[in-house]
């Protein structure tokens, strides 16, 4: 299975933010609530990653976890692809 690299996922995350008129900060520790990255944005990012992979991500595989920062999002997408 192909893999979307973390750097590319970050680019896609930036595109999601730009489409909503916002900017993704360079700091992975940035708080999602503070930068306005919401559930809909996270869902869109997942779809963008799926479109690059050509397959659906399996969201049932990893256990529920707390995602509060940009880095958490990137980690989670990494984990989903590895699942």
């Amino acid at each position: 299975m192909s893999f979307v690299a973390r750097g590319r996922v970050r680019e896609l995350m930036g595109e999601v933010m730009t489409a909503q008129g916002r900017t993704l900060p360079g700091d992975d520790a940035a708080d999602l609530r503070a930068i306005g990255f919401r559930s809909l944005d996270f869902s869109e990012l997942a779809l963008r990653v799926e479109d690059e992979l050509g397959v659906e991500l399996n969201f049932d595989a990893p256990g529920l976890r707390r995602i509060t920062t940009v880095g958490d999002v990137l980690d989670f997408i990494d984990q989903l692809q590895a699942a």
Partner: protein, 413 residues
């Protein structure tokens, strides 16, 4: 074959019928003297379909006519078991497996199958002829596939009224219909919104060269953008949209150039000649004098409606129109109308896409208008964001090179 009673007067028997470039009349169309009854006539061209219809009208036979491609082997078997001889385009006849008495004058239609396998709906020429009274002389374009409700509407109008000519457009001629229509002086045309959009997308000037006085839309939800585009090209034409189906017939006819119909038309005092319209929850319910056999009473149409001020908009099929985005509901039809309202968009399809966290997200496919330069994903997101709640804004938009089309002239919207 023995002579049978006529079901409807063939007042239009001498009307012009243009098929494959040949100028004929209903009366001079080729004849099908050996056509059995009941018969399911599967055709691969418009002339054979018209000949089968005229034979039915003259002899009062029981007829189902459809394009060969719409009736698969399983359905042919079912027709044989239901008493129909199946007639193929090359004239080969498979006799009926069930011998039964014909229903004299019965015309069978197949539903579009948008909710599953096509169903047979029984009509007669009388129930299919919904246009009454004197009509201005017109030459009608006939782009519909034989056997569909819209096809029956146009052909019965021509066969039962004076001065209503027909110009048949075969599937391979669809891309070039404006040239054919202009050549034969077509003054009236009926098509789905997809049909009109494709025509304008391909060649707006060519469409504008057809001397249309009557433009009719039907078969799909009609949005304001396509009505406005047609009005711009044809400022003097009467532009109508019709809500019709095999089940309830032509039940809503709107001539004011606006999408939807007036809310005051709901729940009017019953009149035997006029359909009664109602809304149950979000579903359009129709009690129609033009209904198919066995469909007496209120018919739940499966079409979803939404109120917009004093209008009632038909947004799409109930089972596919509503998209639930994390508990917030949005109509795919409404989102589509917003996209279609963007001047750079020629066509759009809106659908739900499975997504994490929110369950479903709104996604779209779009064909840009080539005359207005490129548009971007960001342009459309921005356009929608100022007109829709955030959960209704399409988050994934795919750009297509051309408008998809099916044999029914509808797209999957």
């Amino acid at each position: 074959m023995t002579a049978r009673r006529r079901t409807t007067a063939l007042i239009g028997d001498d009307n012009t019928v243009v098929v494959a470039g040949k100028r004929l009349t209903w009366r001079t169309l080729h004849k099908l003297p050996q056509l059995p009854s009941p018969a399911a006539v599967l055709v691969d061209n418009g002339a054979d379909a018209l000949a089968a219809l005229r034979h039915h009208a003259v002899h009062g036979t029981e007829l189902l006519v459809a394009t060969e491609s719409r009736v698969d082997n399983r359905m042919r078997e079912e027709l044989g078991e239901s008493g129909f001889a199946v007639v193929l385009p090359d004239g080969e006849v498979t006799p009926a497996k069930l011998k039964r008495v014909e229903e004299s004058g019965r015309a069978w239609l197949l539903t579009s199958g948008s909710t599953g396998r096509p169903k047979r709906i029984g009509h007669t020429l009388e129930t299919l002829t919904t246009v009454t009274g004197d009509q201005p002389p017109r030459i009608w374009l006939l782009p519909y596939a034989p056997g569909t409700y819209a096809w029956w509407q146009v052909v019965t109008l021509s066969l039962t009224h004076a001065d209503q000519g027909l110009v048949v457009i075969e599937p391979h001629e669809l891309d070039d219909w404006p040239t054919i229509a202009a050549e034969h002086g077509v003054t009236a045309a009926s098509g789905t919104p997809t049909f009109w959009r494709q025509a304008i997308y391909r060649d707006a000037d060519g469409v504008g060269a057809v001397p249309l006085e009557q433009i009719t839309l039907g078969g799909e939800p009609v949005d304001q953008a396509i009505l406005d585009q047609l009005r711009e090209i044809f400022p003097k034409a009467r532009i109508s949209w019709i809500y019709a189906s095999s089940e309830v017939g032509a039940s809503i006819v709107v001539h004011d150039g606006k999408a939807g119909f007036p809310r005051t038309w709901l729940d009017r005092t019953p009149d035997p000649d006029r359909p009664v319209l109602a809304v149950d929850g979000e579903e359009l319910v129709i009690r129609s004098p033009h209904h198919g056999a066995g469909l007496v009473g209120a018919v739940h149409t499966g079409d979803r409606v939404e109120y917009d001020g004093d209008r009632v908009l038909i947004t799409g099929r109930l089972d596919t129109d509503e998209i639930n985005v994390g508990g917030s509901k949005v109509s795919a039809g409404v989102v589509r109308n917003v996209l279609m309202g963007h001047p750079g968009v020629s066509w759009a399809r809106v659908f739900a896409r499975k997504a994490p966290l929110v369950g479903r997200m709104v996604a779209a496919e779009v064909v840009p208008n080539p005359a207005l330069g490129p548009i971007t994903h960001a342009d459309l997101v921005s356009w929608c964001s100022s007109r829709l709640p955030d959960y209704g804004v399409p988050r994934r938009i795919k750009f297509l090179d051309e408008i998809p089309r099916k044999e029914t002239l509808k797209s999957d919207v």
